[in-house]
Amino acid sequence: MTGHRWLNPALAAVVIALLLGSLLTGPAGVGLVEGLNALLFGSSAEREATVLIMREIRLPRALLGLLIGAALGLSGAALQGYLRNPLAEPGLIGVSAGGTLGAVLAIHTGLAGLTVLALPLSGLLGAFLAVAVVMGLTGLRGGPLTLILAGVAVTSVCGALTALALSLSRNPYATTEILFWMLGSLADRSLLHAGLAALLILPGLAVLLGTGRALEALTLGEEAAASLGIDLERVRRVIVLGTAFAVGAATSVAGTIGFVGLVVPHLIRPLVGHRPGRLLLPSLLGGAALVLAADIVVRLFGDSGELKLGVLTSIIGAPFFLYLVLKARKELVT
């Protein structure tokens, strides 16, 4: 029952290192001491540019990497635990598709051009509407299967409407913008974006971290969990709403960043003895580490800004998914 006591501290150290790495990565060569100095102590006449770069460009990007990675990793772990399915990922309950639709509509209608926050707020509205429909469809007493089916249905509808918006778009610039936005990126976000994300992601993370006990009990199935004193309806609401806050905000600010929520809990699960409750905090940290690292790689190898973060995580994630399929097949055979 001791578990791996080093796991969380080690992951936290990696996250801090990557956070610093993220702050120091970019086309403008800024040294470690110089950069942190500018970040923390601010402006003097000769380093005004450095302060601007650190505070307005790199800080929001690093913070968003941290927050969004944490949101994806943790909600992936919580959903996998609740559904007792290692292939579940945060997008399953319709949040990402709803967020994407909202954001795409904001670009399509030109709303996004009005103010900086119009795009993420519209994304949030979409994410929450999608989750409201999923919860309505699931009903009060619906179990995991109903939740998955409702999520799949809402995801398909949102996907179809997003495609419709794309095909109706007469403005080629808007179309390009929509496409790039959908690929997922942390570039060119402001502190305002980071603040909005934090406002929603942090409470989402807090409630999801509180589900550990219930997830542990669900190892025995729903009936035994209920007899151990777990309120299953409440757990479902908390997990769906926590994911809606965390992943809804993440998608609204950064677009779709795939596979993090699927891969991270998977990699960490053996390290915590497959315990769904113990998986939560390391998945939060691991998600943050993965997104921060991927966002550094994107900047190192994609000078021209061609490589999008969401593309990179999918390129890493999709083969991993294949590997999972093959592994599952092997385990079935033996």
Binding site: M1, G210, E223, S227, L228
Partner: protein
């Protein structure tokens, strides 16, 4: 302590599973629920465990309605062992048994001395202590069945509700399990088990509840329930009830 189903009715998908059933189990007795498949045995156990909410009637613990009891309060008094033996993650035996301690803890779960005693005792009582570091995915069906019983005992309940705990066990372990359940009852626990082995029911249970079609046909001493007449009405078989070497046996033919 006494757990009681009072005029409980439960319907699922338009079908009436339990029609106004009253049954109870009290401290110090091992009670068996017998009856054909689909009689409502599992549903009655689930209702008494608080897992299924009855449409009518109520479940009472020492006379107080369980609906008004906090879930963790209920879980510290009443343990429920489902018929299904699916464990969703390949955790260790020790971890699985330790889940029985959840009702005693709030948010953060670090096992204290009480927990360790309860876990070790449950593992020992079901003769699975040697398996404690093994993964549940590597166990045989019978081993897993005993580990799951150990989980419900680690809960240290006053009332244990077990749905076919002996199914799939070899004769030696089945015997050991019923002996253990009987000794738990004799040391003050109330134990209610659904079972299909009529001879074991005759031999070990203080009292039997015979169910058919969502109703209770009989509730009483084993020799008063396992009569040829009641067996014919419940199971549609002729049953012979006798003793071999002083051990009661029931044979259907």
């Amino acid at each position: 302590m006494r757990l009681e189903a009072e005029a409980v009715a439960i319907g699922l998908g338009g079908r009436q599973i339990l029609r106004i059933v009253s049954a109870h189990v009290a401290a110090g007795e091992l009670v068996g629920i017998i009856g054909p498949n689909g009689a409502g045995k599992s549903t009655l156990l689930k209702a008494m465990a608080g897992v299924l909410r009855p449409a009518g009637g109520r479940i009472a613990l020492d006379g107080a309605d369980c609906a008004g009891l906090a879930r963790s309060e209920m879980a510290r008094r009443v343990a429920y062992l489902p018929q299904s033996r699916i464990v969703h993650w390949p955790v260790t035996v020790e971890t699985l048994v330790a889940l029985g301690r959840l009702p005693y803890h709030g948010f953060a779960v670090e096992w204290d001395a009480d927990d360790r005693v309860a876990i070790d005792r449950a593992l020992g009582d079901l003769q699975v202590a040697h398996l404690r570091k093994r993964l549940v995915s590597e166990l045989s069906g019978g081993e897993l069945a005993r580990v799951l019983v150990a989980r419900s005992l680690a809960q240290q309940p006053r009332i244990l509700l077990a749905d076919e705990p002996s199914a799939g066990l070899d004769p030696a372990h089945q015997l050991a399990l019923f002996r253990h359940l009987r000794s738990l009852a004799e040391s003050g626990m109330g134990v209610l088990v659904a079972l299909h082995d009529l001879s074991a029911a005759a031999r070990f249970c203080h009292r039997l509840i015979l169910m058919k079609d969502g109703e209770i046909l009989a509730d009483g001493r084993p020799d008063m329930v396992l009569t040829p007449e009641l067996m014919r009405r419940a199971f549609d078989v002729a049953a012979v009830h006798g003793t071999v070497d002083g051990v009661p046996v029931v044979i259907a033919h």
